[in-house]
Symmetry: D2
Subunit: 349 residues, 4 copies
């Protein structure tokens, strides 16, 4: 048996941090060696997340106090903005550490686009240049060889897995994409906001960030890469009264092909993928099918409007949409089988 690799988690008091702990605690080749959460420094992890009562975990600490030279990899679940400088400091302290950033800080390759959407200049431009976009299924080789992975956002993961193979194959018109996205409330994080209180978000539904959600440029960047052209998409997210899960309904215009052709193209693209499954004709993906798991399910449907189709993709925003995909990438970077620690099935009901 090989020694376990030592993993740290930056921002362990948030939901993505906690889901990383959930998965890593049962990962056969990983040891959780450091947990940071500056506002909760000094506390036991169980004070912050009591569902870990049965685990023996390191205490939460300030990130500045971690000895990064002792770690093999770090998953970063910090809010965007501060992440850039902290990751730069971590790498300065241990240049061979593997970084899995689950924030948005290194996802946009174009610095101007970043500045435009985030309202400030990028604070680690040099690192940005080496960051690999961590959508495992499309960047597997680059990820395995990289030091810094910008794990995709939850929505982009769901949308890009559904659309990139279609854009690459020129089966759809990338200038006419309407993406109606729906997410559970964990997508808003653990911060205290009035609209995510149970009594506000429960038994109701609304759109949010209409026309202005920061996952738009990330989707456009990668569909643009796939299509070989600059792309603008409609992306409209909605807040759903459930905790986990995400469903994206993408309305596409066909280029001389049928909905069945789209389904076949996706099935071919994901034939050997362990986590991405294309549903048979007539099977409707639902978030219940992937809750708590790293799996993605995609379905394709003919539209009643001629030359249009509907592509529906579902995932768990905290797993394949965040911590699970980060660990999938970590496995590649550390030389473990890609599925290690990630084959847990959906919790249904």
């Amino acid at each position: 048996m090989t020694a376990k690799k030592k993993i740290g988690i930056l921002g362990a008091s948030g939901y993505t941090g906690a889901d990383a702990v959930r998965l890593l605690a049962r990962h056969p080749n990983a040891e959780i060696a450091a947990l940071t959460a500056n506002t909760h420094a000094g506390k036991a992890m169980q004070e912050v997340f009591p569902h870990f009562f049965m685990l023996d975990l390191p205490r939460l600490t300030e990130w500045e106090k971690v000895d990064w030279t002792k770690l093999d990899a770090v998953l970063c679940g910090l809010p965007h903005g501060t992440t850039q400088e902290i990751i730069a400091a971590v790498i300065a302290s241990n240049p061979s550490i593997k970084i899995l950033d689950m924030s948005a800080d290194f996802r946009l390759r174009d610095m101007d686009v970043y500045a435009n959407w985030y309202g400030h200049e990028h604070r680690a431009a040099k690192l940005q240049a080496e960051a690999v976009y961590g959508l495992t299924e499309f960047y597997r080789k680059q990820i395995a060889a990289a030091r810094l992975i910008a794990c995709p956002g939850c929505y982009p993961t769901a949308v890009l897995l559904a659309l990139v193979p279609l854009a690459r194959a020129k089966l759809i018109d990338v200038d006419d994409l309407v993406i109606d996205a729906k997410s559970g409330v964990t997508g808003s994080g653990r911060g205290l906001k009035q609209n995510t209180l149970f009594s506000e978000a429960g038994e109701g539904l609304s759109a949010y960030a209409v026309g202005s959600h920061r996952h738009s440029p990330e989707i456009e960047q990668e569909i643009g890469v796939a299509a070989g052209s600059s792309v603008t998409v409609n992306f409209t997210p909605h807040l759903i009264p459930m905790s986990r899960g995400e469903l994206c309904t993408s309305y596409v215009k066909l280029k001389s092909c049928s909905a069945d052709d789209l389904r076949q193209a996706l099935a071919n693209a994901y034939r050997d993928e362990p986590f991405v499954h294309v549903a048979k004709k007539g099977v409707v993906p639902q978030t219940q099918n992937v809750r708590g798991s790293n799996y993605v399910q995609i379905g394709v449907f003919a539209d009643r409007i001629k030359n249009r189709a509907i592509v529906i993709s579902v995932l768990d925003n905290l797993v394949k949409g965040s911590a699970g995909q980060a660990i999938q990438n970590m496995n590649l970077m550390l030389g473990f089988p890609e599925t290690t620690g990630l084959e847990q099935l959906a919790l249904f009901p």
Copy 2:
């Protein structure tokens, strides 16, 4: 004080029937004089809906046993298909009774479209000819003068209130409409189905009836009327883990105008409407705002894609989407102020 009008409810053991009881029981000019539910005939209404424990209501009876000549109006919450023949029989028994049909049976004017979507010839073709489509805001005069009202479906009400004024004014391209609809679980009725069990529908989300929902032809009929042309729309409904509420996100292509123009056109159209409100720029409609009420809220948003906009409309599927709108129409037909008994505010939280 005028004598109260005597109202019957056909199909009182379903959710729309129950919501009609909830509203009529406190309607100052109405008396609930008959409740039918053939499978529960003989029971007290409270055995079927225990939340009416404080009311004195007629017992549930078979519809054949009601003396229709004693009634002024009847609301019909039966499943589609059987409704046509029962309503024909009721009218035969009392030709001056007012009928508010909440089923789909008289909504489609084109008999071939009906047969095509419902799989059988219409069984009351003559009555269909006199039926008025009960979307109050657009057919007010005809409703006031009619005997038989085909109250619109919940989704069509939400969609048509959002889009008809825009189609009429030729502000949008009616051949490029993508309508992503989301509904609470009561939209599926009270029948026992596995997918509406709490443990199945809770904490999850899926599309359903993709490309085949029977509200499509109804939407197309009325947008066609507004636009003066035959129309095919994309209409894709989703099942949301909440009981009440419906939100329709309509993606529209603009015809030489802006999102602000759309909002202004809607505001003008509904300036004097008691139940339809157009949200100010930047205000996002949410189903929480209309839960349990007869109100509709509509918001308009610019899309990031040039020449496109997003129109969001919300309502309570059992109130303005069904029983409330039926009573609104009933008020018109019986000569009461249109808002009588319907001004209850949303129950939030």
Copy 3:
């Protein structure tokens, strides 16, 4: 038609304040004349509660800026502690104003008990002496004649309506009361707390404040009055993943009588009460039956243990448990029929 009475609401940005607005806005004899919320002063009420989009309401203001001499009554939904001094100031400014306090500040008659449970001396001892405990069904006469009403807590309302008639009639042993209480999340208010986030409170269940909930002394005070002795009860609340509603399961020891005797005693006690209903034998109360309404439902069940019974009571914590009961009392104080504006039925489903 008599002129409407002018009503103010202190603390209108909380849930009890909002529910008071919901009810008063449709109250035929009331006009909402002032809304205070110091942290939101200057905003439209609709910015704080968008579901009031269809109402014309006064702007939120600081309580110090209200001209109390213009008002006939005020409902107070402020947090406990600060309420005492503000109410004292309001009364100083307008000694004939009617005060309906929905906070806990004037509920405990014993100053020492207050200080013990709330950690500070009472700040308006003189007013406390004139305050009437606002459980309408038991203090109707005193309420009608009073100036300052301490409306009961939501749990005490549910528990006392179930147990006081039994304690008065000496049918139960008041020294052996186990009260297992369950409440929806609105019971925790609108303040931002981690445990009331949707993702934390949803799909789960816990007890809270075990052995230390501040509604205990209030329950003990009133059961003590009914029994004519000092009483200590077990009161254990639980947080339920729903927004509204409260169910209290009271386990009682019988004194030479049967469960049927208890039911009969309660039925006799509430025979003429408009809002309190005793369920027939075998009918199980559920919070769904009272959601959004001012009604209370009580059921009595034999225990398998000899000489024990179970009394179950349900109400909506924001209505009969707070704003509804306040308005019920207000009606008494202002000379309106007690049920005015409160007969809305439960919203089910």
Copy 4:
């Protein structure tokens, strides 16, 4: 690597059957070799539970068509009543097969008590004699040596783990036990019932089977064994609007000891147990902490009433309350480490 044991599941179309599949599909020593569901025979498991889309599973078949001689063990998730005869037939066909019955059919040792609660004579009296009650923590040795295990009900598991050590140690008065139990909706199974529809069970709460729940005799049997006397308990279950999870609040009378003594006694009893954890003083168990996992959390609290205490226990009704405990027992019977395949952590949020 040893060959995997072949496991069958009787009644695989129910929730307990599905959770057994979820766990066994990732169990390193188990192979799912047969799935039965007579009403769905011939279907793929994925047609019945689409969340297994990524698994290769045997088709559902009639139980009569399974070759039981090829199987090492079978988990039985059939409804009570029919189970007795089917298990008798399975054992007749393969006398050395290990049976893990998750139904109630073999839990009650006293045939008269069984007949009294279930309304018919036991149909496999001889097998009942050899059945071992499968509460792993108390019957570990007998389970390892047995052929037929009657796995406990979900409620009894939660209650007995909380109370048996206290009853054994004579720390509590077993003649004064009030157990207020709360369960998620999956506890009612997957059958179609009106009260478990989303729109009925959601946003509400009720007691059920007050004084008559069939888990009562099971609890009384085992507390009786622990106390060495015949026992009658109050057991009152409530239906909570969540899918999974169970919380039992047990109100106990102390025998010359304190709440701290109870906690210590439980901590001692479970010191070496992998799945049962006693919370530190002040930590409140919540079902969120165990959702989807085989863990149990127990907390003890002093009551305000002298000489009384409150014991709160939580578990996931489908895991430790059913399929998980069955697999825990199966591991013992087949010689695997007891925790194999069961260490998945709670899914929170």
